[in-house]
């Protein structure tokens, strides 16, 4: 019974990802993407990783995707933008990416032939994750924090209105 749930969630994730990447309207695509992320969170939960599931929802779908939404609303592309996207999505452009992505998929699937294993079926609780984080992986945590700091500064710097300043300097 529970396995069926897994496969349903997997299908939802796949479908919504496919839909997300083939929409002309950016906002629609984002919503589909959020659905995909939620489905993946369900998968995490079903595999016994509740912490990962929670993080997926809270941070990935809740923060990162919202960031996307904000930017799209700010850019305010409009109807002509949607028409342009539709034009770019015509059939001829699908050939080469399709072939290459298909080949890679084939290889990945071929690589999976000899892996007759299953997941453990046990939950890894948040407590264990926390112990591991502040134990063997504390260095990684520190580095991740520096990465986030860099991201922060970068985002602040890049978000400024450069053009005005440049014209002033000239």
């Amino acid at each position: 019974m529970m396995e069926v749930l897994f496969y349903i969630a997997a299908t939802v994730a796949l479908l919504s990802t496919g839909l997300a990447l083939t929409r002309a309207n950016a906002a629609h695509a984002l919503i589909y993407l959020i659905v995909s992320l939620l489905a993946v969170a369900v998968l995490f939960f079903l595999m016994g990783a509740p912490f990962a599931a929670a993080l997926e929802i809270v941070i990935y779908a809740g923060a990162i995707m919202v960031l996307f939404v904000f930017v799209i609303m700010m850019l305010n592309v409009g109807q002509h933008g949607i028409a342009q996207e539709q034009e770019w999505l015509r059939g001829r452009n699908w050939i080469v990416p399709g072939i290459l992505a298909g080949l890679l998929l084939l290889e990945l699937l071929l690589a999976l032939r000899h892996a007759p294993a299953t997941t453990a079926g046990l939950t890894v609780s948040p407590k264990e994750v926390g112990l591991a984080l502040f134990g063997p992986y504390v260095l990684a945590v520190e580095i991740a924090s520096m990465l986030l700091l860099a991201g922060l500064i970068g985002a602040y710097h890049l978000g400024r209105r450069f053009i005005v300043r440049r014209e002033n300097k000239r």
């Binding site: 080469v96 990416p97 290459l100 992505a101 080949l103 890679l104 290889e107 071929l110 690589a111």
Partner: protein
Amino acid sequence: MADMAGIWLIPLLPLASAIVLILSAGRMPRQLAALLGAGSVGLAAVCVAVLTRDFLADGEVREVTLWTWMAVGNFTPKIAFYIDGLTVVMMSVITGVGFLIHLYSIEFMWEDESICRYFAYMNLFVAAMLLLVMGDNLLLLYLGWEGVGLCSYLLVGFWYRDPANGKAARKAFVVTRIGDTAMALGLFLLFTELGTLEIQPLLAAANDQWQVGDTLPVIATALLLGGAVGKSAQLPLHTWLPDAMAGPTPVSALIHAATMVTAGVYLIARTFGLFLLAPPTQEAVAWIGLATLLLAAFAALAQHDIKRILAYSTISQIGYMFLALGVSAFASGIFHLVTHAFFKALLFLAAGAVIHCLHHEHNIFRMGGLRTRLPVVFWSFLIGSAALAALPFTSGFYSKDAILLSAWELPGIGPWLWAGGLLGALLTGIYSFRLVFVVFFGEAHTEPDRQPGWKMAVPLTLLCVMALVGGLLVLPLTGVFPPTGHHTANHAIEYISIATPLAGLLLAYLLFLGRQLSVDALVESPTGSKLRDFWLNGWRIDQLYDLLWVRPYSTISQWCRNEPVDRFYNGVVNASQWTHHKLAALQTGQLRWYATTMVFGLVLLVAIMLRNAA
């Protein structure tokens, strides 16, 4: 010994005079230049005369070492002189005839503005030639060899403002250079095999190490022969001598008749021991001599420039000397060298007098009737031509006769060589008296505008005397060459040898003086005129060489003009630039393109990994 000290003076006097004349940069008054130029050679001649008198008295070989030239490993050539009979003979010819020619040159070149330069080069030449014959090792000989080659170039191109003269000088230099290179290779081979270049030890070592007919002596002597052929203007390197007549006539007399062209003969005579060890080469010497002799004689028949006739005649006579060396009649060859020096210098000086007095006319068919107008010159020419044709009791008669007799006596090819030599003698008689009859008899087409002075007349007279009585000289060559064995007196051969030049004289008389016979019809006919042109152009050997060597070389140079090797390197550059452009085209600046190519690479990588893991 007092004369030992004086020996080094002999080459030093002309050399010092040359240096002084060169350093004067042409600003010396011409009287002083003439005094230095002729005087130095005259003094050297006096020293040589003293040396000869002493040598004839005691017959001892004199060896004088001045200093060691260089010391490299076990190669230590010295500046040293080796005076034996052969050296004394050569030195006497060089300084004696040389002095007479220098004296003659004073008058001949008096009006020339570069008389200083002329005497500088002439003295330098005499010094180099003396070094050549006096040296006791082959390296010193080679130094003199190169020195005379240089002076020949300088003197043939003396009137350098005319480009044709420069061309002739360069031709002389380049053609003899080919021979010089062969000779240098021969010297290398000799040194490598025998360990020394000093002539007497070299000959002794060769006799110890090598058997008669071994490959090494054949190769070494063939290379030395190459050098001799170049310097002595024999087939195939004879093409420079007729063109070298572009120089002043005394130069032709000294260099291209009496001395430089005999350097090849001297070389072979000096290293005769090596040639005796290499019978194939020695036979080649004889055949080269014969072929050249005949070729030049035919060519001389068709020439109309007075100096070119004499030039081809020189080539022909040196062919006789080579013939003599080829049949091991070394002493006869040297004897002919000496007599040839006398009568050929005489002929050239007389021709120079004709040219000088007829304001530089060279074409014999525009002269004529000079017998009465230039009597001294006429008698000089007559005596010289008689000696050249080897009419009886002239000096040329004795020397040529000895050669022909030795040729006849050689078993095997001897009679053929003798027959060829005889034909050559006939032709010599014809062309030499053709020259005399055309220039000095008949109608005068050009009148002389002056008479030769005492500075020209005295050398001419002295040389006339030598050309007549020189045949009676007994050269002190007994200690030098191996004895040739007793000549069986063969009267038939002797009579034929006497008759042939007289027949030639008769033919020339009939054709050119008495006009009883006429070859005009023969010459005008198609084959006749072709033959005449063929011989006039020296059997068209110049054209042959142009076709064989010059044209291919020019063609290759034209190909190389565009730097074909650079093309390869430029090609490398172009290929890398092309590759760069193609690669640069990959950098479109478009993110999607980059992503696509990355995926492509990723697909390949994963495929490889899968294959390796499988």
